[in-house]
């Protein structure tokens, strides 16, 4: 049976695993069934990857969009 360290080290690949499984997936799942600590870690690991962080929506300020366009105007004018 895999150790906790081996299981936790491979959780990234386990999270992104292709459907169909592999012998290692079976071993990880056996370990998770038998080890409450790793199961708890896995569930929270999966949760932070699955739920989008809820932060203030970021919208570009109009003044900045205008500033960028003006900077481009300068570059284009200098080129032509």
């Amino acid at each position: 049976m895999l150790t906790c360290r081996q299981v936790i080290d491979t959780l990234g690949d386990y999270l992104e695993r292709a459907p169909g499984g592999s012998p290692l997936v079976d071993e990880i799942e056996t370990h998770l069934r038998l080890c409450p600590g790793c199961l708890e870690l896995w569930e929270s690991y999966r949760l932070v990857s699955r739920i989008p962080p809820k932060a203030e929506e970021i919208v570009i300020p109009e003044a900045l969009a205008n500033r960028i366009q003006q900077a481009l105007d300068g570059l284009i004018a200098a080129k032509s």
Binding site: R5, E16, S49, I51, I68
Partner: protein, 217 residues
């Protein structure tokens, strides 16, 4: 102004002398680029300077752009470098030692849990109002903890788990190999789940101190 041409079409038009095509590319991507710059810099003034610098650099380099790369990946990479440049001009961030938040093991490789909290992790998947509330609370807390994470881990996490970039594309933006990116993502997830575990442990203790002996549910 919208334009039916895709990015590759606008790039070809620019390279053929239609300089105005670049404006359309800017309009199309400025929102994403601003988000990236703000997430890396975490301060509006630096993010705005980084964004302007990014578009100027992209304008100057676009004539040499070759379509083996995706335009968006190329532009993201320029913006990321500009944002990093802004970040380096500031005094270093107070550093968080991520090692302190990694799982610990005994000599046999057995995981030593730091906390065991009733109700952790929360179960936002439950199909009721409490599930929605838990998910919302969790998502707000996750965003707050993400903000405190060192840039080295924060940006990869945001590119993949917030912006939805595939690993290979995020790795290219950050100038990393895919395995290095995966390693940073793994550590970022471990960091976040540990920070959230500590948060929920504190909340559970506070709940019990207030006379709710069954703890958080």
């Amino acid at each position: 102004m919208s334009d039916a041409r895709d990015d590759a079409g606008l790039v070809r038009a620019f390279q053929a002398g239609e300089t105005g095509a670049f404006r359309l590319l800017v309009e199309r991507h400025q929102q994403k680029i601003y988000r990236l710059c703000l997430r890396v810099c975490r301060d509006r003034t630096s993010a705005e300077d980084a964004m302007q610098e990014a578009f100027i650099n992209a304008y100057r380099a676009l004539a040499r752009f070759r379509s083996e790369a995706q335009f968006t990946t190329w532009l993201y990479r320029i913006a990321y470098n500009a944002a990093l440049g802004q970040l380096r001009r500031r005094p270093p961030e107070e550093s968080v030692d991520i090692e302190d938040l990694m799982p610990r093991f005994d000599a046999r490789g057995v995981y030593e849990r730091s906390h065991s909290v009733l109700g952790w992790p929360p179960n936002p998947g439950r199909p009721d109002a409490l599930g929605d509330l838990l998910e919302s609370e969790f998502a707000v807390r996750l965003a707050a903890e993400l903000e405190k994470m060192p840039e080295k881990y924060r940006t990869p996490f945001q590119l993949v788990h917030v912006e939805g970039l595939p690993n290979a594309e995020a790795a290219e933006v950050l100038g990393l190999g895919v395995e290095a990116l995966k390693s940073r993502l793994h550590r970022a997830r471990l960091y976040l789940r540990e920070r959230l575990s500590r948060y929920y442990a504190g909340e559970s203790e506070s709940w019990q101190r207030k006379g709710h002996p069954k703890g958080r549910k």
